[in-house]
Structure formats: C-alpha cells, structure tokens
C-alpha cells in the first residue's frame, strides 16, 4: 500500500492515540526544562533541590522519577549544581531506558549509539561507576559532546569508541559478549517536536524506510553481541511504527530473543500489533509507547528484549 505524502506527519498517528486533541495540543507546547541528578556527585537528590531553592530557582520533582526535577530557569547550565557536576540537563522521557536496562555494578554494558551521552552517564551512575560501559557512536562530530558529558559528570567506567555500530564486536574489547546493550537508535525524531518544532521540515517516508533498515541492522547486531540471558533495550524518540514495532518484529525472526514487558513508572500505551497493511508478532504489544500528553514529555518508544540463546 502506498501512503500519500502528507504535510502533517502527526496525522498518521491519530488512530493510535486515545485522546487526539490532547496529543495535538501537547505537541504544540514547549518542553519543561528538566535535570537529572548525577548520583556519582551527590547521593541525596534533596541536596540539589536545596541549592536551587537557595538561589531562588523553583524546582518541581517529577512524580515518576525521584532523580528528575523540572527547574524553572532559562539556563540550567549556568547554575551551581550544574557546574559542580551534580546534574545533567536531560529530556525527562529519555531517562526511561537506562533503568529498564537495569545494569548492575561490574557488568559490561554497550551503549551502541551513545552520543551525546545522557544515557551513557545514567548507565554509569546506575552501576555506581563500577563496571564497563562501552559508549560508541558512529558520528565523529558528536563524540566531543559524549566525551565532555562523561567527563563533566565524573564517569571513569566509560570507554568511548567511534565505530559503525552495525559491525561492532565485543572481541575488540577482549570480551565474548556484553551483559546488556542499549540501542538508542537514530530515528526520525518525531517525538522531539516539542523541543525542535522544525523536525518535520525534512520528514519523508523515504527517510523512515532508510533509517528503519539501519535500525534493524543495529538491533540485530545488539542481540548478536549480548550473552544468553542478557538484556537489550531498543529505544527511539519517534512515533512511526516502521521504526518501532516493525524493527522489533524483524529481530524476533532471529528466534534467539523475546520481548519482555518492562516495568515503567509512567503513563504509557502498549505497542501496536498492526500498522497499515502489516501485522506484527503479537509480542510487540509488550513494547512501550509514550505520547507527549501522557506525562508532559517528548514522545518515546521502548522495547525490552531478553536474549535466549
């Protein structure tokens, strides 16, 4: 089936969301400014709140994450908690995949598409900086941001590499396999419209098809390099099922991984079992869709996979 080219890409998704008006309205609004507390620098998040409030900056905790705070200031980077490395400016919903990946201290973790490092640093924080995080990104131009964020937040357990994630092998690090792999895939970024209203200027079905092919190869490689019993988390910041459920559906054809229903603490919808003329493996309904109106965030998609052999 050929889809008509549209100048309103969000209209593709109105049948997927329950409250279309709220979805449309949320996509028009700008995002709140949110910081994540860096546990490597400050153990008690309430210390961060104290310092902001001492400076006359209003801080609101998010009800679904004790380490995320909306801060009412134009430049969160020009504040004392930031310059001390206590916080990292991060879109709230992008803090979701690291806790689902759930890395333990000592484990070997691969962050396949890591720049600019929000999730790398969060993974290292969850491990207490004990373990190894291979933080890879194919885009050389984005490595400096990845490195500076790791450095600013005091991460010592990260190894930054610049490889094509579709071919990255654990043997390059003397490893047989990784315990956990995050694929925070390059995508059409439709869910970032609140941060970047121009995101649809270059939108095309052609691009979605091309990036979906790359996503399938990245996720395929991620499953290949993860040990049996290990976890792969696949995430995008887009709504297009071609880049989400269809990619998960394709990796299930390998027969050596299954979709797990992740524990997520915020309002969300299930993965969609069919899209246009395609029907997916019903297990994709265990995936997580977060729409902007659900929790006043950007849009997000997340799948948790267990590698079975």
């Amino acid at each position: 089936m050929t889809e008509a080219v549209t100048d309103d890409p969000l209209s593709r998704y109105v049948d997927l969301v329950e409250d279309v008006a709220a979805f449309r309205e949320a996509c028009e609004r700008s995002l709140p400014s949110v910081v994540r507390v860096n546990p490597l620098a400050v153990a008690d998040p309430s210390r961060v709140v104290e310092v902001y409030e001492d400076a006359g900056i209003t801080v609101d905790g998010l009800d679904w994450a004790e380490n995320l705070f909306a801060v009412d200031c134009d430049r969160p980077g020009n504040t004392w908690p930031y310059v001390h490395g206590w916080v990292h400016g991060q879109e709230a919903v992008s803090a979701l995949p690291a806790p689902v990946l759930d890395p333990a201290p000592g484990e070997r973790v691969l962050d396949l598409c890591a720049a600019p490092g929000s999730k790398t640093t969060q993974i290292a924080g969850l491990q207490g900086d004990r373990g190894t995080v291979v933080a890879n990104d194919v885009n050389l131009g984005r490595l400096s941001a990845l490195r500076s964020n790791c450095d600013r937040l005091g991460v010592t357990s990260a190894v930054v590499t610049n490889r094509d994630g579709r071919h990255l092998s654990p043997s390059a690090f003397d490893l047989e396999a990784f315990d956990r792999v995050l694929v925070d895939a390059p995508c059409s970024c439709e869910g970032t419209v609140r941060k970047n209203p121009d995101v649809f200027a270059d939108w095309s079905l052609d691009y979605i098809d091309r990036i979906a092919a790359e996503q399938r190869r990245l996720l395929d490689q991620a499953v290949s390099v993860t040990r049996t019993g290990g976890t792969v988390v696949y995430a995008t910041c887009t709504f297009a099922p071609e880049e989400n459920e269809a990619v998960v559906d394709a990796v299930l054809d390998r027969g050596d991984c299954r979709v797990v229903e992740p524990e997520v603490p915020l309002t969300h919808a299930d993965g969609v079992p069919r899209w246009r003329d395609r029907t997916f493996d019903p297990a994709v309904e265990r995936c997580v869709r977060v729409y902007p109106h659900h929790n006043d965030t950007g849009g997000f998609f997340l799948a948790e996979l267990e590698v079975t052999g």
Partner: protein
C-alpha cells in the same frame, strides 16, 4: 634498561597503561603509576588507596586517564575513563573534571572561596587573592565541594577552567 635513550617515543593516538615502576617503563618520559598516585597524595593529601580500583593510562601528549572499568587491553578507543592529570610538563596539572571527581578526598592545597570568588573563577577570570599556602596548582572549592583547578602565583589566582566548561553564574 639504561635510560630513556633505548625507549620508544610516546604515540599520542594510542592508549597505553602506565608502567607500575620505572623498571617497567617502555616509552620515554611516561610517568609511572606510583608517581601519579604519590603526586596526588603528597600535594593534595588524597589517600593512595583512592586509586586502588582504577587503572591509569596515557593517551595524548601527557594526558593521564583514570579508568574504573576492567578491560585489559583496549585498542583504538577515543577515550578511556576520565582525564585526571596533565604530565610531561614541569608542574603536573590536575584536570577540572578530575579535581571534581577525586577532590573530595583532598586535605591540603584546597582553596575554599565564597560563591562570588568562585563565580569569577568559573568565568575563567584571574583575580587577586591572598593565600598562605603553597604556590602552584590548587583545588578551588565552594561550600558545595571542589569546583576546579587554579594556579596560585604572586598573590593571584589564575583560573584553569577550560574554555568549554566556563559559565557565567551571576
């Protein structure tokens, strides 16, 4: 080994583990692990055991990295852990990020300043200031902890905050 004349030259693009002792040295001018740990202990009072869980590496010209992971022989990587110290110069200089990460354990050559002085420092500006302690590279701290590294000479605190890290906190 009879001296650096028989040793290889440093290749700044390669990450290499610091030798444990001078006898293990294979690259000219590379500091030993022991010397780096002694430097932090003697100048800043950081307990030697602080670095027990970290391997130390050189990448770039004299940049020392502390790596908390457990890879044995990483190759062709862009970064390995956290840059903590600049060596291969007369006076070794801790990095801003290394000072923030490990400075909490420091007991000397820590200059604690008020927020206004700290803000000037973090804008990258030099300022007149009296300090009874040693000259040279100091950890500069606020009431919240170590913020960075300053060079104290001739009654002046010179900011060593890298350009990309500077912020206007006014």
């Amino acid at each position: 080994m009879t001296g650096d004349g028989e040793l290889a030259a440093n290749d700044g693009g390669v990450v290499s583990r610091l030798p444990a002792t001078p006898a293990d040295r294979t690259v000219a001018g590379r500091p030993t692990r022991r010397a780096v740990i002694e430097f932090f202990a003697r100048r800043y009072g950081i307990p030697r055991a602080t670095f027990d869980g970290y391997s130390l590496w050189e990448k770039g010209a004299g940049r020392v990295w502390a790596f908390g992971g457990d890879l044995q022989s990483p190759q062709s990587v862009e970064a390995l852990g956290l840059p903590v110290l600049r060596v291969r110069q007369d006076h070794w200089k801790p990095t801003t990020d290394g000072a923030q990460r490990f400075g909490a354990a420091a007991t000397r050559n820590v200059l604690t300043v008020d927020r206004e002085t700290a803000a000037t420092f973090f804008r990258g500006e030099d300022q007149s200031l009296s300090w009874d302690g040693d000259w040279g590279y100091l950890f500069v701290a606020t009431d919240l902890g170590v913020l960075g590294v300053g060079l104290y000479v001739h009654g002046e605190l010179r900011s060593m905050v890298p350009k990309g890290r500077r912020r206007d906190l006014r």
